[in-house]
Structure formats: structure tokens, C-alpha cells
Amino acid sequence: MTNLAIKEYITAHAPEATYDETGEWLTIMVESNHLKPLAAVLHGQPMQLDFLFCLTCVDYKTHLTMVYHLTSTSNRNINIVLKANVDRADPIIETVSDLWRTAEFLEREVFEMFGVDFLHHPDLRKLILEEDFKGYPLRKDFEDPINMIKL
């Protein structure tokens, strides 16, 4: 599948998606509420992007962006980056852990580090930090005067 064919296929399912081809891989930008249906489409036939190899979040100070790196184990040449912006003050997005089980742990990490709330996540608790930890360490405005080293 070429990038063009992928784009056509995705546009048929998610017309509002925007594309960015400047990077190494094709990047698809969607609204946060359209992410889950599109992820399901990509996971299913014929794309079969069954391997979520990276899930993370980026803090752009004005908003948070969820980033999903997808590939297919049957066709390793397809690599797609899926992105969705979420509101920084009230970050809510649907979980993808029912499609890719690895997302369960990765989303828990994002939950504690960025405070993104994943709807319908089976077990959304802190994984690495203590239960009573305040704040979201990987957000840009997080300050810890004792433990952080700044240049």
C-alpha cells in the first residue's frame, strides 16, 4: 500500500483527518473523539495494523497530543503515526487497550505522567508513581525544586 492509497482509504472512513508527510512515516491527525473509530478501522482488515509499538503523549503547552505508532506484522513496510490533540485542562480520550493489549500499560503510564484520562480503560491506576503523588511529571509546567536538574 502506498501512502496515497492509505490516505484515500482513511479519508473514506474519517473524512476530517489531516495528513502530514514531512516526517519519515505518514502522520494522520484526527480529533480526539474520532480517534477510537479510526483506530478500530486501522486495526481491522485490510490495513491490519496489529502492532502498536509506541504510545505516548507530548505536551505542547497549549494542548496535549496523543501519539500512536502503528505497524503491521504481516506487512512491515507500513508504518503509520496516529495523532490526536486533547485538551490540556481536561484531557479525555477513549482507550485503545481493547484493540492493542499493550496499550493497557502504556496508557497507565501516560495517565500518571500527563494526567490523560482514558475512558473505558480496564484498570486505570498509577503504575510507576506512588498512589498519592501530586502533579503530572512529564508536563512542561511540572516543577520539582528538590529532585529536578535544570540546565
Partner: protein, 378 residues
């Protein structure tokens, strides 16, 4: 003499159906570091495993946001300390990709050799530790005999034995040691002679086989869904070797096989690693006599600045796929950096595959997942 209230107090941390809840770790001989597993037991049978992480979380990702592109590589040696060369390589490759730095051939070949030596060293340590988890102490010392030769080579090359920090953006920090080639050849010779000893001690052992065969079965679809990579996924028959899928450095010009086992049990994962060591030897043999002359480091600017954008680099560490994801705003430090560590995904599958087995099986399963805790916590 008999203080009843205190004894009853301890029984309160039983599970809802009266199961026994055992805390394995953070100080436990089998968790190799500070992994904390909360294991719910019904007698000897495991009902649920819940990992508690964070005992060695140093927030490397946050730390890297305030380090320059030259500095952040040294932090990554501390992630998966058994494949520090490979971690360094991933970061160097990413910076080279972002700045289009030309890497000299010599550096590429030396990097590949060092990466493969690191892989062998890591697997050697794993064999010893895994056998120790199963109660056999002796293989540990046999494995360390060969590993010692590799660490000696590393010491000659860069002065360090564990956290190398030898690979820099653009190539290598120094040229290789004059005796590098002879020492590596001596190691290959020794390794080929001695690898049969592991086979005798471990692989062919009836007790070892009965402890690992059919234990902790991971199906291919689960391996994909849980994002398993490296020997764990290849033991279940999933092609996932980044060295084949997206070759970097000198991997595109060497011949080697991607080891695939289909059984998906602990023994298959064990066999993948044992055979992988032989493939690593094969790669090193092809390259060791053909190290090109020339510069060991390419021309780079003093201050490295990545262009605005996003970069992702994947490499195959001894444990699986390590991904480095950098979001750059164009400055000297990354805006956001994410390490996709293989151990994190491999750990997430533990509850799924060890559920329903005995405590003894948990050691075999956990051992073959080859978890390195600093890699999981980062």
C-alpha cells in the same frame, strides 16, 4: 507468650476469596532488581500477578528534556544496562538521521561488532540468571567465564565494562584498541568451544526441559497484541527483528538468520536466545576482518541542533525493539523524548501467561522474559 491479636492482624491481607497475597520483591532473589510483583495465590497456583513499578524510576525522559543531544546519550546507558551499546547506538542513529550526519564506514562496522558482542554478553548473563532462577547455580559461572572476555574487550575499547558511552553522534568517541581484532577472534574461538558446555549443563538437562517446556505459553496473536518484541515474540513465531526489518549500521551487508521458534513456551524463548548467540558470532566473523580503514567519527558541528519535527529510531536490543521518539522544536535540547523500551511491553504480558501456573513456573516464565528493571522503569 502467645499474642493472638498480632497474628490475626496479618491475615487481613488475604484476598477477597481468602487467597494468599504474596509480595515478591522489590527485594527478592528472582526479580533481578527491584521489580515488585503482587502475586495472588490459591495454594501454589497463581491467580493474578500485578507488577508494581517505579522503584528505580529516574525519569530519564524528563531528564533528557534538559540535556543536549550530545549529553542525553550517556543517560541512556543506564536504561537497559546490559545493552548499553545498543541504546547508545539508537540515540546516535537518531541524531544522525535528524541532522543528516554522514557516518564513516569504519564506525558503522565497529558499532555493529560491538552491538553484537553486547547482545552475546547480555544473553550470557541471562542464561546464568535464568538457570539460577530454576535452582541450578553452576551455569551462571560458566556463562560468566565467556562474558568476562567480552567485558575485557569493552574495557580495552572504551574503558568501561558496563555502561560504555562509546558511541557518539557521527561515529565513535575514540578509535578501537590495536588488539581489538585479535581479542575478538580469541573470544570467538573460545565461545565456539565452550558453548557446548551450556548445552550439556542446561539445554539437555531433563529437569530443565520439564521445567520450561509447555510453561508460560504465549501465542503469536497475544505476542503481537501485547507488543512483545525480541526473543519473547520470536519464541512465539513472530518476525520482529529490526535488524532485518529496518537495517541500520552495517546490518544490511551481513548474512544472518532471524531465529524463529513456534512453540511459544519458555523453552522456545530459551532456544531463541541460545541460537541468537551463534548468529551474533556469525555476524562478528563476517565483519571482524573487514573493518575499513579511515575516520572513526564523521564531521559534526560542536553544537548539535535537530530540525523542527519528529524523529523515531528503532534498534534491536538483546531484549527486543528499542524505540527512541524525539519531538524537536529546533533547539539544542529535545522538546519531548520517549523511549519505547522492550522490557515494558514484555512485562505487561506476564500476568497473561503466568496465570494459572505454579509459583515455580513463574520463575521460569519471568526468567525467559528477560526483564531488566531499569529498562522498564526508565
Amino acid at each position: 507468650m502467645y499474642n493472638q491479636t498480632e497474628i490475626i492482624k496479618d491475615t487481613t491481607d488475604l484476598g477477597p476469596e481468602g487467597e494468599l497475597i504474596v509480595n515478591m520483591g522489590p527485594q527478592h532473589p528472582a526479580t533481578h532488581g527491584v521489580l515488585h510483583l503482587v502475586v495472588t495465590l490459591n495454594g501454589e497456583t497463581i491467580k493474578k500477578i500485578e507488577p508494581h513499578l517505579g522503584y528505580i524510576h529516574r525519569s530519564i525522559e524528563k531528564m533528557c528534556e534538559s540535556l543536549t543531544y550530545r549529553q542525553f546519550i550517556y543517560v541512556t546507558s543506564r536504561m537497559d544496562y546490559l545493552s548499553s551499546h545498543i541504546n547508545n547506538t539508537a540515540c546516535a542513529l537518531l541524531v544522525e538521521k535528524g541532522m543528516q550526519i554522514e557516518v564513516p564506514e569504519r564506525a558503522k562496522v565497529v558499532r555493529t561488532i560491538l552491538n553484537e558482542l553486547t547482545r552475546i554478553a547480555s544473553h550470557e548473563l541471562w542464561i546464568g540468571a535464568m538457570a539460577m532462577d530454576l535452582g541450578a547455580f553452576t551455569p551462571f559461572f560458566y556463562a560468566f567465564r565467556e562474558r568476562e572476555m567480552i567485558t575485557d574487550i569493552m574495557e580495552d575499547t572504551c574503558g568501561a565494562r558496563l555502561t560504555m558511552n562509546y558511541i557518539v553522534p557521527g561515529g565513535l568517541m575514540y578509535d578501537i584498541h590495536p588488539e581489538f581484532q585479535t581479542k575478538v577472534k580469541a573470544f570467538i574461538k573460545q565461545f565456539k568451544e565452550k558453548v557446548t558446555e551450556y548445552e550439556d549443563l542446561v539445554t539437555g538437562n531433563v529437569i530443565f526441559q520439564s521445567r520450561t517446556k509447555g510453561v508460560g505459553i504465549l501465542t503469536a496473536s497475544d505476542a503481537i497484541s501485547y507488543g512483545c518484541t525480541g526473543p519473547v515474540a520470536r519464541g512465539s513465531g513472530v518476525n520482529c527483528d529490526i535488524r532485518k526489518i529496518a537495517p541500520y549500521d552495517a546490518y544490511d551487508r551481513v548474512e544472518f538468520d532471524e531465529i524463529i521458534e513456534t512453540a511459544g513456551d519458555s523453552f522456545a524463548r530459551y532456544m531463541v536466545r541460545v541460537k541468537e548467540m551463534n548468529q551474533s558470532i556469525r555476524i562478528i566473523e563476517q565483519l571482524i576482518d573487514n573493518i575499513p580503514e579511515g575516520d572513526f567519527v564523521g564531521k559534526t558541528k560542536n553544537v548539535l541542533k535537530l530540525a523542527k519535527g519528529e524523529f523515531y529510531q528503532r534498534v534491536e536490543t538483546a531484549r527486543g525493539e528499542l524505540g527512541v521518539y524525539i519531538v524537536s522544536e529546533g533547539g539544542t535540547t529535545p522538546h519531548r523524548i520517549k523511549f519505547r523500551s522492550p522490557g515494558f511491553s514484555n512485562l505487561s504480558v506476564l500476568n497473561h501467561i503466568a496465570k494459572g501456573s505454579k509459583i515455580g513456573d513463574l520463575m521460569a516464565t519471568m526468567g525467559t522474559l528477560d526483564l531488566v528493571i531499569p529498562d522498564i522503569d526508565r
